[in-house]
Symmetry: C2
Subunit: 80 residues, 2 copies
């Protein structure tokens, strides 16, 4: 099965990468961009039957820094 | 309106970051992880009425390197 983990900075945490992208978009002439936040997307190919709890555990222990980041898990195929 | 852009490496492109995450997950004792691919998630806060074509243009010109990366756009709120 596949799972996707979306890791985003919590609101209020400074995001220099997002700021740089925002600035670059304006420099390229794109108007109407009000804010940009950069995050991570991690695609996992897991053994069938991997539990949601196991995936959440991976996020808490490695994939996300829960002090400054939120994470969201999306399962693409459910276990048989 | 908000839009999310998901940038992922094309299949076949080497992903050292994903490999490192995979290795670290195994080191932490998580079994059953078959593959990990790392990508980017960019959240845009845009003026209402920004067209899909404009967002796609941003992706092609700045957010994604279309030689090695695919991108997918998700609009969260449609223009009024």
């Amino acid at each position: 099965m596949k799972a996707r983990v979306f890791v985003t900075l919590k609101p209020g945490v400074l995001d220099p990468q997002g700021k740089a992208i925002h600035h670059a978009l304006e420099g390229l002439g794109f108007s109407g961009v009000q804010d940009v936040r950069a995050g991570k997307l991690i695609e996992l190919e897991l053994a069938d039957g991997t539990s949601d709890i196991a995936i959440e555990d991976m996020c808490r222990k490695l994939l996300a820094n829960t002090v400054i980041e939120n994470f969201r898990i999306e399962r693409l195929e459910t276990a048989a």
